[in-house]
């Protein structure tokens, strides 16, 4: 407290920023942004989802600038996002109509279209592989060529290829495991609601929140925070019975923007423009709940929890689907069912910002408190 920074703030900041750059470069290696984008797929995905900005190149650049800190990278992306005009809202994306890269169900062994394991670390042994140390770009190219020679996959990552595939907009999405459970009458029927959601980044959330607002906030929630709260729900702080993953999908979905000049276009029946593809994770979780059926009868019915986020981040998407159900339940006995508790505390930029502000000087507030402590002691 003896030192009050009256002068020299500017110089100190300059020096601190330079020192930060030194820390990033001191080992004499400059991280290649392309290499970060190619090799840090999970981190790129996580950062894009938490930033709610889908751009792998900007995400990789942010990761480089943030020296790999997800919280800093998300922060950079979000601040950049604030400067972009919001010109259009896309049509609702049916996540069933995705070009599936991975699709699994924990509810049924045989799901329509079959289980597709795709790329997953689930069944790897988590043993550190020293051979990765010696990997080279040339080796990578050669391996991929050889792999694609023997395995036929839909590896079209490029935009040109996507546009081809998107030209045929699927009319009827393939049947899913959920459809089967629904056909048995075990899922509560809901009206399809494709109303344009209230954009939480354009209109501050007010409580009670709509489901679309909740899903937006969870989808851009900090991975660790969403996971922790979803875990709490699963352990008994909220979820009453054990939920099951009905279907988990990872793949690419096409995004369309309605023709801004066509009447009625917002409903999706007018012309729409294809603007690109996103890779997303989508999860439908079946949560058994007790439903009162009259005459003193109670039945078990399934309700669907929905989770989705940019990129491949399955743990977060599943946790999100659990929280979706907790918040839909209307029960408020546990913290993870309280929407103010959940929705106001999962955002990365908000949480890290407020916690880190404790590093700011608090001379005046502290001085004021000190004064009233002294007075109170004197008065006693």
């Amino acid at each position: 407290m003896g030192y009050i920074a009256v002068r020299g703030g500017a110089e100190a900041i300059e020096a601190s920023i330079e020192r930060l750059k030194y820390e990033r470069l001191r080992k004499g290696r400059a991280l290649d942004v392309g290499a970060a984008e190619a090799g840090l797929r999970a981190l790129v995905d996580q950062v894009m989802a938490e930033a709610s900005l889908y751009d792998e190149g900007i995400a990789a650049l942010s990761i480089k600038q943030a020296e790999g800190s997800p919280e800093e990278a998300v922060f950079l992306m979000r601040a950049y996002r604030s400067t972009l005009p919001r010109s259009h809202y896309a049509l609702a994306v049916d996540t069933r109509a995705m070009r599936v890269e991975r699709r699994i169900s924990a509810s049924f062994k045989d799901i329509p279209g079959g289980q597709l394991l795709g790329a997953s670390a689930d069944y790897t042994h988590r043993l550190i592989d020293p051979s990765l140390r010696g990997e080279t770009d040339e080796g990578a190219v050669a391996w991929v060529e050889e792999y694609l020679g023997r395995v036929a996959i839909d590896a079209c990552d490029t935009n040109e290829a996507s546009e081809d595939s998107a030209a045929s907009r699927p009319e009827a999405p393939p049947a899913s495991a959920i459809d089967y459970v629904r056909s048995l009458g075990l899922i509560e029927e809901r009206q399809m609601d494709d109303a344009e959601p209230r954009d939480v980044t354009k209109k501050a959330i007010e409580f009670p929140a709509s489901r679309s607002e909740r899903l937006q906030i969870l989808a851009r929630g900090q991975t660790g925070a969403v996971t922790a709260l979803g875990y709490a729900a699963l352990r008994g702080y909220g979820a009453t019975l054990h939920p099951t993953v009905g279907e988990l999908r990872v793949g690419r979905v096409a995004v369309y923007v309605p023709d801004p000049f066509a009447a009625g276009s917002a409903k999706g029946d007018g012309d729409a423009y294809y603007v690109g593809e996103l890779r997303i994770t989508a999860v439908e979780t079946l949560v058994p709940v007790q439903v009162h059926k009259g005459r003193g009868k109670t039945e078990i019915e399934f309700v669907l929890g929905f989770g989705a986020c940019f990129g491949q981040n399955e743990t977060k998407a599943i946790a999100m689907s659990l929280l979706d159900q907790c918040l839909e339940s209307g029960d408020k006995r546990s913290a993870v069912q309280d929407e103010e508790f959940v929705l106001l505390h999962v955002d990365s930029v908000e949480a890290t910002g407020f916690i880190s502000h404790l590093k700011l000087p608090h001379y005046v507030t502290f001085q004021s408190k000190l004064d009233s402590l002294r007075k109170a002691r004197g008065a006693k």
Binding site: G2, A5, V6, E206, G353, H357, P361, S368, K375
Partner: protein
Amino acid sequence: MNRERLYNFAFFDEGSKREVRRAILKAVAIPGYQVPFASREMPIARGWGTGGLQITLSLVGKEDVIKVIDQGADESVNAVSIKRLVVGTTGIRTTDDAREATIIQSRHRIPEFPLARGQILVLQVPMPEPLRFVESSEYATKRLHAEKEYSGAYLALFEEIMKYGRVATGADHPVLVHDRYVMAPSPIPRFDNPKMMRCEALILLGAGREKKIYAVPPFTKVASLDFEDHPFEVESLEGRRCRRCGAREVFMDEIIDDASGGAEYQCNDASYCASRTRARAGAPASGGG
């Protein structure tokens, strides 16, 4: 820097600025009422003044002159950081002199020089809800405000009198604006609360993380909450004198003298102190960043 290519004048796109300004207009129309707004993520951290910064950036024009202070100091690291961002995206002039600025963004202080008509004071707010400590739910506090039910705020003060013999609030002592809304004045010391009363300048308060903007329009009645027999009291200034400029009736920092271990005092408002010191030395008391 390639920042220029990537970012707009005053950082935001014009649509975002209009949205923030609409919230400000509503706030001015309902003094002390917290207007929810779609707080944007800023290049500085949430909790570091983003509410104030969004107000400043949405209002700033090329002719404006800005002053930024943090806990009374123009050169405090966070003030410098915010100033760099505003100047970096607008190129406008800065000043340390509170009398010369058209927009003053401040964290936790109101300058000692009285504010004048035409000026805008932008205060950064960490916790905009004065009732949060008696009621944790936003849904509930909104209703309490709507019904002007402020017993909770008074009860908290009454409890302090019962337990400590006096009101023991530090900074951020709640105020009643225009006889209608109880408002958190932001963590300014109690010493600054009376400066809000019928202030000639427009006071705007922004909470970025909590997504609220509220306002005290010029010449509005702002009364600190208190009881008839326990009137509101500012921090004790008794026997305090600035070791640099000799001022008495201003808010002071307490400095521990390294040699003696005793307490000395110095004006918390650094530019006020500097201009008094300059005036004493016979130099012109002007600002300039």
